[in-house]
């Protein structure tokens, strides 16, 4: 039944993507300025511009333009970027992995740091670990990711040169691109030093990006755990003398994880958005940075393509979270089956 749930979610995801494509397509057309003229530069002749407009279907009604766009999209063709003069797909294939790498590690930090901090705080409720965690998490959620990016960059790269200032890997190392994920490509190339360098470069931006999510996950997990601990089935487990660790792990944690995972899934979307400033601060060649570049250039095809890809990534992340929550929560699983 997991499969049918995923299938249904994929179906609705397609619909959402279609809506997103229409919306972003229309928005991109109403931004003032002539894309053909911008693409060709100020020295192009009027004829060249008219020709370019024909190539881009800009001379046809908007609805036809959208039709062209959709058929090409189905073929995996997002058109040519006016700015880089390359297929938008190629640009995305180049820039998306860098952002995904960043966002996935940030997501990992949210789960790997946020949940245990929350559990720890709940376990020592009112004690010093709880108070310490409260202060830390309050700090992390009270400033946006780019502030943390600047602060961490100044502290840990500039004053204390522990981490590289910019880039994805040490400039003397060159690795053939296979997946676009630097961490994976270095491993595929068997370049151990390159792998370490890639992780080293990845750490700080991902950490900055994840901080507010870590804080939120920790706070939510703490309050869920405390609420769960007061529930009758925990008292029952205690009254049966089940070992305290077992109660914490398999009785209290699992039900508390359900809301935390949902929030982490939503935060994941925010990560893609926040990635833009963080990528700029760390000179990270990612899709968010590319997206802003093409918006400023009014590069229509690239704008639409970038937004589509980011939406698709977000929707897929949501499906994954949804599946995880379903796996944990029998109530959803069974409501599903009886439908």
């Amino acid at each position: 039944m997991i499969v049918s749930r995923v299938a249904r979610r994929l179906g609705s995801t397609m619909l959402v993507l279609l809506g997103v494509s229409l919306l972003i397509f229309l928005i991109a057309r109403v931004i003032p300025g002539d894309p053909a003229r911008i693409a060709l530069g100020p020295r192009a002749t009027e004829e060249q511009v008219i020709q370019m407009r024909e190539v881009l279907h800009l001379d046809q009604p908007v609805i036809i333009q959208y039709g062209h766009f959709l058929t090409e999209l189905m073929q995996g063709d997002l058109g040519i970027s006016l700015y880089t003069n390359r297929p938008v797909m190629t640009d995305i294939a180049q820039f998306l992995p860098a952002t995904l790498e960043l966002v996935l590690l940030a997501g990992f930090f949210m789960v790997a740091l946020g949940l245990p901090l929350g559990v720890l705080a709940a376990r020592y409720r009112g004690g010093w670990p709880d108070n310490l965690i409260r202060v830390i998490t309050l700090l992390t959620v009270s400033a946006p990711a780019f502030v943390w990016a600047v602060v961490l960059l100044l502290m840990l790269s500039y004053f204390l040169p522990l981490f590289p200032i910019a880039g994805r890997i040490h400039e003397t190392i060159s690795i053939p691109t296979v997946t676009g994920f630097m961490v994976i490509d270095t491993l595929l190339a068997g370049h151990w030093r390159g792998f370490v360098s890639a992780l080293h470069h990845l750490f700080l931006p991902a950490f900055a990006l994840s901080l507010s999510g870590v804080g939120q996950a920790a706070r939510l997990t703490r309050s869920n755990m405390i609420e769960t601990y007061d529930s009758p089935y925990i008292e029952m487990a205690q009254s049966y003398g089940f070992p305290e660790r077992r109660i914490a792990r398999s009785y209290a944690l699992k039900p508390s994880l359900i809301p935390s995972l949902t929030i982490i899934g939503l935060d994941f979307a925010a990560l893609l958005g926040n990635a833009f400033l963080v990528e700029n601060i760390f000179a990270w060649p990612g899709i968010s940075r590319y997206g802003v570049g093409v918006i400023l250039q009014k590069d229509l095809n690239a704008i639409v393509g970038t937004v589509m890809i980011i939406s698709a990534t977000f929707l897929i992340a949501n499906i994954i979270v949804d599946v995880l929550v379903t796996l944990i929560n029998p109530r959803i699983r069974y409501a599903e089956r009886s439908r």
């Binding site: 009758p232 089935y233 029952m236 487990a237 009254s239 049966y240 003398g241 009785y251 109530r331």
Partner: protein, 292 residues
């Protein structure tokens, strides 16, 4: 003499401390349960029934804010002489507990079979799946569950309240405990279902010779179930004796008030007898001494 008793509580006091100061909740409780005896502890809400059960179980002791004094002796073993780990090892094996609302007391994210298995492992850590399943099926039959296989495969939210209550009774008895603590069992269920499951429980404990401490605010429910009664009021036992004797001749004003309240609370209502009269503070009425 306490050697022969399943449970013996002597001069038990309890107070809770918080930042405002401390509040005394139990003022010297004495209570005995003989092997195979069903004893009821009856009193209004907040009189100290649940805390008494939790002290016997040993869970309240783990609370830093609780100060406990007096003696609790289970089958001749004094709690004070045992380490917390030793006392804990009695939980789920020699002593088990049934809660008020079965639907929320069972773990929502695990199947019934898994919860049974965990309970069985308390007395037999290496029990095999097959054997566990056989024991479960047998005990579920004892609580009149027709299709044990389906129930074992279910999650609590898939079963009715009455069904969950039977499951909880079965779970509490599967390890053959000497002492069963039942804290307002089934009060959250509707009256007929509550009556049915209580009847079942009574049959089972009678057959197995399990001693029971039955906690209730409802004298009407207790009459069917208990051999002997303790009436608790504001952390003090105000009257004790055989159920029959107390029903025939209630002597403490508080007991009389409780009895007068019965018709109004055959459901899950809580007696509203909070008009405090001086008479309630009259000394203990002990029917056992009168009878002797």
């Amino acid at each position: 003499m306490t050697q022969d008793l399943t449970l013996s509580i002597r001069n038990l006091t309890l107070s809770f401390t918080n930042w405002e100061g401390s509040t005394q909740v139990l003022h010297g409780i004495d209570l005995d349960i003989r092997p195979g005896e069903r004893v009821a502890l009856v009193g209004e809400s907040g009189s100290g029934k649940s805390v008494t059960a939790r002290i016997v179980l040993g869970t309240l002791q783990e609370l830093a804010s609780a100060t406990i004094a007096g003696e609790v002796i289970v089958e001749g073993r004094r709690m004070q002489d045992m380490t917390p780990a030793e006392w804990r090892s009695l939980r789920g094996t020699d002593i088990s507990m049934i809660f008020q609302d079965p639907t929320v007391a069972l773990n929502p994210v695990y199947r019934i079979s898994r919860q049974f298995h965990e309970v069985l492992r308390r007395s037999q850590p290496s029990i095999k799946r097959r054997e566990a399943e056989e024991r479960c099926v047998a005990i579920l039959a004892d609580v009149s569950i027709g299709d044990p296989a389906r129930v074992l495969e279910s999650y609590p939210f898939q079963l009715s309240g009455g069904m969950n209550q039977r499951v909880m009774i079965a779970m509490a008895l599967i390890n053959e405990p000497r002492l069963l603590l039942a804290d307002e069992p089934g009060t959250a269920l509707d009256v007929t279902v509550q009556a049915q499951t209580l009847h079942l429980m009574r049959e089972l404990v009678e057959r197995r010779g399990t001693s029971v401490l039955f906690i209730s605010h409802n004298l009407g429910v207790v009459r069917e179930f208990a051999d002997r009664l303790y009436v608790i009021y504001k952390g003090r036992i105000v009257e004790r004796g055989p159920t029959k004797a107390i029903f025939e001749n209630p002597r403490h004003p508080y007991t009389r008030a409780l009895l007068a309240a019965i018709p109004r609370l055959t459901g899950s209502g809580i007696p509203d007898i909070d008009e405090v009269s001086e008479a309630y503070h009259e000394p203990l009425v002990d029917h056992e001494n009168i009878a002797a």
